[in-house]
């Protein structure tokens, strides 16, 4: 079976490195981008099976912008996006799909520090592996 490709978009190189190590060990192929714009371009070029997306990137495209662009791209809109943020708890704001979908529409949401096992279960659920 062809290995599934996961694109990690995060402006923190350490996070990318540890996620890459983790996902490769889980049997996935990884692609990475350290800013939103490169992330969207890689997604358009390489059609990943799933995208891990940092929400609060201070780069040319924020996580919100990346999500919007991918979900409105006819070629990519079916690609599951897992949003990751370190802010939800502090702000007392939890992502609620029904309310926040119009603004930000990832298919799942994780808060940092990420529980790797739960993340893996969610990824497998999306990729049906």
């Amino acid at each position: 079976m062809k290995t599934k490709k996961i694109l990690i978009i995060d402006d923190n190189p350490d996070f990318i490195f540890t996620m890459e190590t983790f996902l490769k060990r889980g049997g996935f192929t990884t692609l990475t981008a350290q800013d939103g714009k490169t992330g969207v371009e890689r997604a358009q070029r390489e059609h990943p099976d799933l995208i891990l997306l940092d929400v609060m990137m201070e780069t040319l495209y924020s996580g919100f912008e990346v999500c919007k662009r991918i979900k409105t791209d006819p070629q990519l809109k079916g690609t599951p996006i897992i949003g990751i943020s370190g802010m939800a708890d502090e702000l007392g704001v939890q992502y609620e799909k029904e309310k926040d979908q119009e603004y930000f529409s990832p298919d799942a949401f994780f808060d940092k520090p990420v529980d790797k096992q739960k993340l893996l279960t969610k990824i497998k659920e999306f990729l049906d592996t």
């Binding site: 402006d11 923190n12 190189p13 350490d14 996070f15 490195f17 540890t18 996620m19 190590t21 983790f22 060990r25 350290q34 800013d35 940092d54 609060m56 990137m57 201070e58 370190g86 802010m87 708890d89 502090e90 702000l91 940092k112 520090p113 990420v114 790797k116």
Partner: protein, 359 residues
């Protein structure tokens, strides 16, 4: 009435005198907002307002406030409340909480409205402090969580590397752990520094030695991101008076930021970071940190020294530059920032050669 019996001398004052003594502004207004009656406290702070319109007295404005509790009370005969910012004739601005009460005639119509206002400026200040405290806690816990993510991630990689006996991976994982230990130590130092007002503990400092030592902490980190570190000190600079601990902290924060700006700049193959000490003019010397990293636009530069402003998204509380700002101020110095997006930034902290002659 109990008070009247037990304290007859107080009643001799008369109700008008008691009203005058109230530590709040009390006025009675007609339906055109003309002040008919004002108590002494009101007159003391706003002058003789009788016959003038309320909004002219409070806000030097030709139109009534919106919302206006007095107007609302005239409309519905009920009491109302609002918060207003008003200007005293002396120029100071204060915040008031304003209550309005209807005064009814024998037919039950509103013939006038009594307005009672209390100065809540101090309460508002406390409120601001509390909001700030809340934001600080949120921002700090966010930063700590990020470091935690780094520590957990790094130790996960270390564990995997040990399992596989992969030396290369072990090195990489361990460097992530070390980096985050450094981050948390820097964060704690900055929290401690910014948590209280300090008077610099001046000592005679040889700038060359201090610069070389401080820059030395960063050689390894700079190498990892292909950044060349340079320390330049004008040899004719004399020994200067500085709080060495504070100055070192300041340089550490500026150099960390500059390295971060270089590592975020993907447009160049390698970078240069220069730390300089030189004369600014005949009475001042400067410490300067220059990088050719991502740089900043004007709007970012303007917000730099506000508490908890950070451009680093997940990686910064914004506390670092605040510490630099506080340190410069405590030394009677000032900061200049030159920056252009894509070209880099220069942070220059200028100190008086004699601390007794600040700017």
């Amino acid at each position: 009435m109990m008070e009247e019996k037990t304290h007859p001398p107080l009643l001799d004052l008369g109700y008008k005198a008691i009203v005058d003594l109230l530590p709040c502004y009390l006025s009675i207004q007609d339906r055109f907002f003309n002040v008919l009656v004002a108590n002494q406290t009101f007159r003391n702070d706003f002058g003789d307002a009788i016959g003038k319109k309320c909004h002219e007295v409070y806000k030097q404005s030709g139109i009534r406030c919106s919302p206006c509790p007095v107007w609302e009370t005239f409309q519905d005969k009920k009491g109302h409340m609002s918060e207003e910012t008003v200007r005293l004739p002396a120029g100071a601005t204060i915040q008031l909480v304003v209550y309005s009460v209807p005064i009814l005639d024998s037919l039950g119509n509103v013939m006038a409205v009594m307005e009672i206002s209390t100065d809540i400026s101090r309460i508002k200040e406390f409120q601001k402090e509390l909001t700030f405290l809340g934001q600080s806690v949120a921002s700090l816990s966010h930063d700590i969580k990020n470091i935690l993510e780094g520590l957990q991630g790094g130790s996960y990689v270390v564990n995997e590397a040990i399992k596989d006996q992969d030396q290369e991976l072990l090195k990489k994982g361990w460097s992530v752990v070390q980096k985050n230990i450094g981050e948390i130590s820097r964060l704690v130092q900055n929290i401690l520094y910014s948590s209280k007002k300090r008077t610099p503990a001046y000592e005679t400092v040889a700038l060359e030695q201090m610069l070389l030592e401080t820059v030395g902490f960063f050689y390894e980190k700079a190498q990892l991101i292909e950044c060349r570190l340079r320390a330049q000190v004008n040899p004719s600079l004399p020994m200067v008076l500085l709080d060495p601990g504070a100055a070192r902290r300041m340089l550490i924060n500026l150099i960390s930021n500059a390295l971060e700006a270089c590592s975020r700049d993907k447009g160049k193959i390698s970078h240069t970071l220069s730390v300089r000490a030189d004369y600014f003019d005949s009475h001042h010397f400067m410490l300067e940190v220059e990088d050719d990293g991502i740089g900043m636009d004007d709007s970012t530069s303007e917000k730099l020294f506000s508490r908890f402003f950070s451009t680093k998204g997940m990686d910064g509380t914004g506390l670092g530059l605040l510490v630099v700002h506080d340190m410069a101020k405590e030394h009677g110095g000032r900061i200049e920032v030159l920056s252009a997006p894509g070209k880099g930034s220069t942070f220059r902290v200028i100190f008086p050669l004699k601390p007794t002659c600040p700017f």
